[in-house]
């Protein structure tokens, strides 16, 4: 089979793919199910990055966990302790360099995030969760952002497990998939507390996270520094 003109990737193996992580043998089901697809759609529409518009769900103890280096781990409630196979799978995923975005759908309760931190401490006991600086490259991988944004305002900073300079597990307490999810009818699935503007910034946050996964710290390269400083200065004025 030959590629049609304008095709974007060989079998899409290198394209951004927001696979949804499930644990305890259950794949994630929620009103936010369409969030990952919308994430990919926004990425393709706004950037040059290829993305898979239909996203898969994957369990932590499946071998296909290692098929691609990105996972989004959404949830609203505390998760059960991970099985040894799940711990092994996640450890291998992270040690190979994979990136996980932990998206708390109910950040006010915070039980999901705390339970994930507890389980990841078993996976990577040597890697604590730290707050990311407001100058972190995630805020400038594509859009220039001042703080994390999702369906809810949430904290003004991100937390992450950083290994070898790379934020490999990013804790997002802003219900990002909630801001991206669509209904079958084509409307937004959930209201956003800050209205249209906040939803736009949530999309931008999603794009930046995808670009961070694809380019890591590219925008920290020295060649970009003078441009970014000038633009931040103009935005501040």
């Amino acid at each position: 089979m030959t590629l049609p003109t304008g095709a974007t990737a060989f079998g899409q193996v290198g394209a951004f793919h927001a696979r949804v992580l499930g644990t305890g043998g259950r794949k994630w089901r929620d009103v936010r199910n369409t969030g990952p697809s919308r994430w990919a759609w926004e990425l393709v529409r706004r950037t040059s990055a290829p993305a898979r518009l239909v996203s898969d769900a994957v369990l932590a103890d499946e071998t296909k966990l290692l098929d691609e280096p990105f996972l989004v781990w959404p949830g609203a409630e505390a998760i059960a302790p991970l099985s040894p196979a799940e711990l092994r799978g996640l450890e291998l995923f992270i040690r190979l360099g994979g990136v996980i975005v932990v998206d708390d759908s109910a950040p006010a309760a915070n039980t999901f995030t705390e339970s994930v931190k507890r389980e990841l401490a078993r996976v990577l006991p040597e890697s604590p969760v730290v707050a990311l600086d407001s100058n972190h490259v995630i805020y400038k991988t594509y859009y220039i952002l001042d703080q994390p944004v999702g369906r809810v305002s949430g904290p003004s900073h991100l937390e992450a497990i950083v290994r070898g300079g790379l934020a490999q597990v990013i804790f997002l307490q802003h219900d990002l998939l909630g801001a991206l999810a669509r209904t079958r009818e084509g409307g937004w699935a959930l209201e956003v507390t800050g209205g249209f503007r906040q939803r736009e910034y949530a999309v931008r946050m999603a794009v930046n996270l995808a670009m961070y996964v694809l380019c890591s710290d590219y925008k920290d390269d020295q060649v970009h520094a003078p441009w970014l400083m000038r633009r931040r200065a103009r935005r501040t004025r």
Partner: protein
């Protein structure tokens, strides 16, 4: 000849003899002090005391008589003839190759004169140059290949003084005086220390008195080591002799490259005053490894020796960090993995540009100030900064859409001048990126078809070729996965390999137009540079995938360590190492030594080509032994720069550049230095003469050789002891009579 002499018994050491002498002397002195006011028997006391002491000493020392019989032979005289290649210069100021005699011919004639003059002496004739002096063939058949660069008289004399052979009675040095050691300008004390170790007269024979009319590059000194991309200051000394009117001399520094014209690195002028001029030129060598640089002057009219108007030098250029330009057409997991690897290597200085937004993308912003994007500085990169990079990585980027196409001829020239290039696959790489029919086609290792299909999405697992299994480039990857590779989701359409290119991976199903299996990974050389074509975008699976987890993700690093290492000529990824045996002197036989890496098997094919010139290469093929280095005779070469490429079996070729000079350092200063020879003779008590006057050299005294030696005691030990006892008894009696106790 008969002779006799006296000695003490040889079983006493020197300290014992000295102690005895001191004790005897002290005893006599004390005796004299003791009796100086005695009137009675004073003389007798002294006489018996002195006798007693003498006989006691004789009883201990037991003197012997030595009788020798022997003969007289001629003195040993050592003649040291300067073996520097400099002596191939004309002796009479004519041009090289003209009818006149060379200094060497004059020296050999002088040796014959010395043989006649010292006919009664035992003459040893040696050539001196570097280290130990070597016997000179009596028929003067020494070829220029056996001549050396240096004229180190100090080293030669030092070896003579340390030799266990008979010490010569005199040394005769035959030279033009332009010695490497002792240094020019040394004072008499330093000169005596340098050449006086033998303690014998050093006579000198001056071969040439007058300097030729010559302008030359006398010296090229670099301020420190050469490092790629860093400026290096060269101090170039120009010399003009015999009143040649040089004034201002233009100087040019050029780098000799393979397949292209030499590139001018710097140019300037040297102002010559009192026969010497200096100029400092700053050059930047962008490529690491052995680089051949030519330093040349425009000599004024009347210059008689054109061969030393230029020097061709091999610079060993080190690299602090590999500077890589990584350009990607869009961000993918393949781009991500390559960037991660490049950033993780401390030895790589990475400059990256990724296309994050195309003209059709809609980021939904009111102003670009909301974006963290910068324009892709394609013109600036390729017009200004390209030479500063060691390698360029073009990953899945459309040449036309992102305006690379006007710069592709420049990229091809950059590769031919020594740069590295890797094209990494994807839908917009190779033909899909509209590189077909561009200038890059002449440097990448495979043909780039410019007709569809540019790629396909058939899953496949690449296959190692024989070369892929043999090369050190993929050795680590091969061993990590035992020859297995991950499944790729598709491939770019690549054409057949260019002549000389090597295919390491090939497609199991797809074919090129000539019916051979389609290359997937290929290596090639173009001019001075190297290129790699990788026609897939799925090698990131060697770093992150279930397949990669078998080797803890190390597969990706193993692949790219090898690819970038080979591109940058890292010796670890070469199948062999090439070096010149000794020096390469134009017109003399040259040998290259090839040392193969363990495991590199197969026949050797060596190709030797001129740098900066078009000529038919010298090709040598041989079947080497299983192990050990191989020496390959490439015959007599002309002066200039050369590149030697050796291929061992199916492995990619190894390359080494080197310079070949006619006279080199030895011819850089053609002036004789008769004054230095005169001073050497003066400080050692020798005589300095010119080559027509060797009869004025004094002959040393003949040497006596002992044939028989007989040692006999003067008296037996008991006789000395008895006489000592009697004398001491008489002394005791005399003391009693004299009132002494």
């Amino acid at each position: 000849m008969n002779a006799s002499s006296w000695a003490l018994t040889d079983d006493l050491s020197l300290p014992v003899v000295v102690f005895l002498a001191i004790a005897a002397f002290a005893t006599v002195v004390m005796l004299l002090v003791e009796v100086r006011r005695r009137e009675r028997y004073g003389a007798l006391i002294v006489l018996t005391g002195v006798m007693g002491v003498f006989l006691l000493v004789a009883a201990v020392a037991r003197p012997v008589r030595v009788a020798t019989r022997g003969s007289v032979v001629g003195p040993r005289v050592v003649v040291l003839v300067d073996s520097s290649r400099r002596l191939l210069l004309p002796a009479d100021g004519s041009e090289i190759g003209a009818a006149g005699r060379t200094r060497r011919q004059v020296a050999l004639d002088t040796v014959e004169s010395l043989r006649a003059h010292f006919s009664d002496a035992r003459l040893g004739v040696y050539g001196f140059g570097e280290g130990q002096p070597l016997p000179l063939p009596s028929d003067g058949t020494e070829t220029s290949a056996e001549l050396v660069t240096e004229s180190d008289l100090v080293a030669a004399l030092s070896h003579l003084s340390q030799s266990a052979a008979e010490r010569p009675r005199a040394v005769v040095v035959v030279s033009d005086g332009r010695l490497s050691r002792p240094f020019d300008g040394a004072d008499d004390v330093s000169l005596r220390q340098a050449v006086g170790a033998l303690g014998v007269p050093i006579h000198t024979v001056r071969l040439v008195e007058d300097a030729p009319r010559d302008a030359s590059v006398r010296g090229v000194r670099a301020a420190g080591a050469a490092v790629a991309h860093q400026e290096l200051a060269l101090t170039i000394e120009i010399g003009c002799s015999a009143g040649l009117d040089c004034g201002v001399v233009p100087v040019t520094v050029r780098e000799l490259r393979h397949g292209v014209e030499p590139g001018v690195l710097a140019a300037g002028v040297a102002k010559v005053e009192d026969g010497v001029g200096k100029v400092e030129l700053r050059i930047t060598l962008d490529r690491a490894g052995a680089r051949v640089v030519e330093v040349a002057i425009d000599a004024p009219e009347g210059d008689t020796i054109a061969e030393n108007d230029s020097r061709t030098l091999t610079f060993s250029v080190a690299r602090e960090r590999v500077r890589i330009l990584h350009i990607a057409g869009r961000p993918t997991y393949d781009v991500r993995e390559l960037r991660r690897w490049l950033k993780s290597d401390e030895s790589i200085d990475l400059v990256a540009f990724f296309i994050l937004r195309t003209e059709t993308d809609n980021p939904r912003v009111r102003s670009d100030d909301e974006l963290a994007l910068i324009p892709f500085p394609v013109d600036e990169l390729f017009e200004e900064h390209l030479p500063s990079f060691d390698a360029v990585l073009l990953q899945d980027i459309d040449a036309v859409q992102y305006k690379l196409d006007p710069h592709l001829p420049r990229v091809a020239r950059y590769v031919e001048a020594g740069g590295g290039l890797i094209m990494v696959g994807g839908p917009t790489a190779f033909g899909g990126g509209r590189y077909g029919g561009t200038a890059l086609g002449r440097v990448v290792p495979v043909a780039i078809p410019d007709d569809p299909p540019a790629a396909d999405t058939l899953e496949f697992v690449p296959e190692y070729t024989e070369a892929g299994r043999a090369t050190p480039v993929l050795k680590a990857l091969l061993s990590l996965f035992d020859g297995a590779l991950p499944k790729m989701a598709g491939s770019n359409t690549l054409g057949p390999p260019r002549p000389g290119a090597l295919v390491l991976w090939e497609h199991p199903n797809r074919r090129t137009r000539d019916g051979s299996k389609m290359p997937v990974l290929a290596l090639g050389e173009a001019g001075d540079g190297r290129t790699i074509a990788l026609g897939v975008d799925g090698t990131h699976q060697l770093g992150f995938s279930e397949f990669a987890s078998r080797a803890a993700g190390r597969g990706y690093g193993a692949l790219w360590d090898g690819l970038v290492g080979w591109l940058m000529r890292d010796p670890r990824y070469e199948a062999a190492r090439i070096e010149v045996v000794g020096e390469c002197i134009a017109g003399s036989p040259t040998r290259l030594r090839l040392t193969r890496l363990p495991g590199a098997k197969g026949d050797v094919e060596l190709e030797l080509d001129r740098l900066g010139k078009t000529s038919a290469p010298i090709v040598k093929k041989l079947t080497p032994p299983e192990s050990g280095p191989v020496e390959i005779d490439v015959g007599a070469l002309e002066a200039g720069g050369y590149t030697a490429r050796a291929r061992v079996g199916a492995s990619p070729p190894t390359r080494q550049d080197f310079a070949c000079e006619r006279g080199g350092e030895a011819w850089s200063d053609s002036r004789p230095d008769a004054n230095r020879l005169v001073r050497i003779a003066a400080v050692t008590g020798g005589v300095s003469v010119d080559q027509d006057d060797v009869a004025a050299l004094p002959s040393p005294e003949p040497t006596t050789v002992a044939a028989e030696r007989h040692v006999s005691p003067v008296l037996p030990p008991w006789a000395w002891s008895a006489m000592a006892a009697l004398a001491l008894g008489a002394h005791w009696v005399a003391r009693r009579r004299g009132g002494l106790v």
